[in-house]
């Protein structure tokens, strides 16, 4: 399973299990869509990237697409536990200006309050 889903205070916590690259984004998108359909009342999301040690432009593009879809539905998305290597990809692509990034999932969940 690439993605694990859970709910904390009506916030969907999406834990990604491995590198988010061109090879894995389709599975990520598919699993996320399925979960979103099943849990349609969830508006806000936290993407937990603790186990993601690499990300390429396809992975980043997918996160931006997910953010866009969530905001279109009136929700919001935050990133948690961004590791050093993906953080460097965020830095060079200026993605840190697009996402709100938190040290861990709890901080990200609290930020919705």
């Amino acid at each position: 399973m690439l993605v694990n889903f859970s709910r904390q205070n009506d916030i969907g916590v999406i834990k990604v299990g491995k590198a988010l690259t061109a090879a894995t984004v389709d599975t990520f998108r598919e699993q996320l869509s399925r979960w979103q359909e099943a849990e349609s009342d969830v508006k806000n999301y936290v993407i937990d990237l603790e186990q993601v040690d690499f990300m390429d432009s396809a992975g980043l593009g997918t996160l931006i697409a997910v953010l866009k879809r969530i905001t279109e539905r009136g929700g919001d998305m935050k990133i948690a536990a961004l590791q050093k290597k993906p953080r460097m990809v965020f830095e060079i692509t200026r993605a840190y200006k697009v996402f709100e990034i938190y040290e861990n999932v709890d901080d990200a969940v609290k930020a919705f309050d």
Binding site: K18, A19, T21, A22, A23, F54, D56, S57, A58, K84, K85, M88, V89, E91, I92, T93, R94
Partner: protein
């Protein structure tokens, strides 16, 4: 006097930056060795003895006969594990008239007070770094003898206004380059050739009017900057660099043959080919993504292209021969439930990871169909299809599992995951040793040898397990 340059010393931090050996890593767009050879010219040293190691070919290609620096160069190979000072003692006959020795990544950093030909006043001295002799200078053999046996204290180079700068980490290397661009570059340029703002642009640099160059910057040859790019301040850009539109490069070092994609922000980083390095902690991210950062010159040389084409057609031939037996035998293997394919994650040199189907025996029982399947190497059929798509090599190193083989991967400078490898015919094969050996002697002959031996061994041993089945 003779100069002895030891380029054989291993340097872990330099290996993180890329394939360029540390003596050829650029400092302000000039290889470190260039500065050393220039110092020889200043000191009036005409004979240079270069001690070569693993990267001998690249270093020989760069220095050649030494004509460019008006020096006569001789090469020697270092014995593994031989101490530098012991080596110097063995060639004591060479330095009867004095010695100028450089023993590692060491930069002769000119201070502001340094004057041209300042080296002429240099007195016998030795500088050590991490208890290793990095620099020895003695105009007479007696002085050199005394320095070799001493502990290396003294101000030697400082007295002629040269800072003995040992480059001991990626951070030190990055800082040196930034110091060069911010203030010190003009000290290495003949008076009258330095621009007032300390910047330098090489030949054939194309900058559209909308590109914003902010001094100080150092730009090498053959560079292209896209529209609306911001280059500098404090950017060192080497040769053959392409920066796509809207990108911003500040306080950074971009090494040779690098493509920087559109709308990126490189700040406080080293970018070398497809690697982004954070000099503050040495974190390296390998990105092979033409939308972000990539190497803009293919690694392939003519012989690589020839090898690739020949082996691609060999693979096509193998696939053509195997396709019918595979289609007939696979259903029988699956029905007998003795074995099957399981998807496993492996390291990939380009994308980081690749999922490959691994043929695994489920039951420990004898099965003629299973042995026939393996004897004909049909278990490798799905991998051969990936060779045709350019995802694997036909012959190479055993593909390394992720994350189990992370430690092995770290020790490999070059990684060529192949369908067939030494392990297919050598039961006592050690994966790390064989992988390093393969990377060292990789050639078409070696690949053909591996292919023939692997296919024959598998066939003659009637598909019994080989060392490669450990994956």
């Amino acid at each position: 006097m003779i100069a002895v340059f030891n380029t054989a010393r291993a340097c872990d931090w330099a290996q993180q930056i890329g394939d360029t050996p540390w003596p050829l890593l650029p400092v302000a767009n000039r290889p470190l060795l260039d500065y050393w050879l220039e110092a020889c010219t200043e000191l009036g040293v005409s004979k240079v003895h270069i001690v070569l190691g693993e990267d001998a070919k690249q270093i020989e290609d760069f220095i050649g006969s030494g004509e460019r620096w008006n020096v006569q160069v001789e090469y020697a190979f270092a014995r593994p594990a031989e101490d530098s000072l012991d080596y110097l003692k063995t060639i004591s006959g060479h330095w009867k008239d004095g010695l100028f020795y450089m023993g590692g990544p060491f930069f002769l950093r000119r201070r502001k007070a340094y004057v041209s030909n300042g080296f002429q006043d240099l007195k016998a001295c030795r500088h050590d770094f991490n208890k290793e002799a990095m620099f020895i200078y003695g105009p007479t053999s007696a002085e050199v003898d005394a320095l070799i046996d001493s502990s290396g204290a003294g101000r030697g180079l400082e007295e002629v206004h040269i800072h003995p700068y040992a480059i001991g980490s990626i951070k030190a290397y990055f800082n040196l380059n930034l110091k060069m661009v911010t203030a010190e570059f003009s000290r290495y340029v003949t008076a009258g050739f330095a621009s007032s703002d300390g910047s330098s642009l090489g030949y054939n640099v194309r900058t559209p009017p909308s590109s914003h160059l902010q001094s100080p910057i150092l730009v090498g040859n053959d560079c292209r900057f896209g529209p609306m790019t911001t280059i500098g301040p404090n950017a060192v850009i080497a040769n053959h660099v392409i920066v796509d539109a809207f990108s911003e490069l500040v306080d950074c070092l971009i090494l040779d043959d690098t493509y920087i994609g559109r709308n990126l922000e490189i700040r406080g980083k080293i970018v070398s080919g497809n690697r982004v390095i954070d000099p503050s902690d040495g974190t390296v991210v390998r990105i092979d993504d033409s939308w972000l950062i990539a190497r803009n010159r293919p690694d392939m040389r003519t012989e690589d292209v020839v090898r690739y084409i020949i082996l691609w057609f060999c693979t096509l031939g193998l696939v053509a021969v195997q396709v019918i037996p595979f289609c007939l035998l696979l259903p029988m293997v699956l029905i007998s439930r003795v074995a099957g394919y399981s998807r496993k994650l492996f390291h990939d040199p380009h994308t980081g990871y690749i999922i490959l189907p691994v043929f695994i025996k489920y039951q420990d029982r004898r099965s003629a169909i299973y042995r026939l399947f393996r004897a004909l190497s049909l278990d490798k059929f799905p991998w051969l299809l990936r060779v045709l798509r350019g995802k694997l090599f036909l012959c190479g190193q055993p593909p390394m599992r992720h994350p189990e083989d992370d430690e092995l991967i770290k020790q490999l400078k070059q990684y060529y995951p192949g369908v067939f490898c030494y392990q297919d015919y050598n039961r006592d094969s050690d994966r790390l040793t064989d992988s390093l050996w393969y990377a060292h002697i990789r050639s078409l002959y070696e690949d053909v040898k591996i292919l023939i031996k692997a296919l024959l061994t598998r066939f003659l041993s009637a598909g019994r397990k080989t060392a490669s089945d450990r994956v």
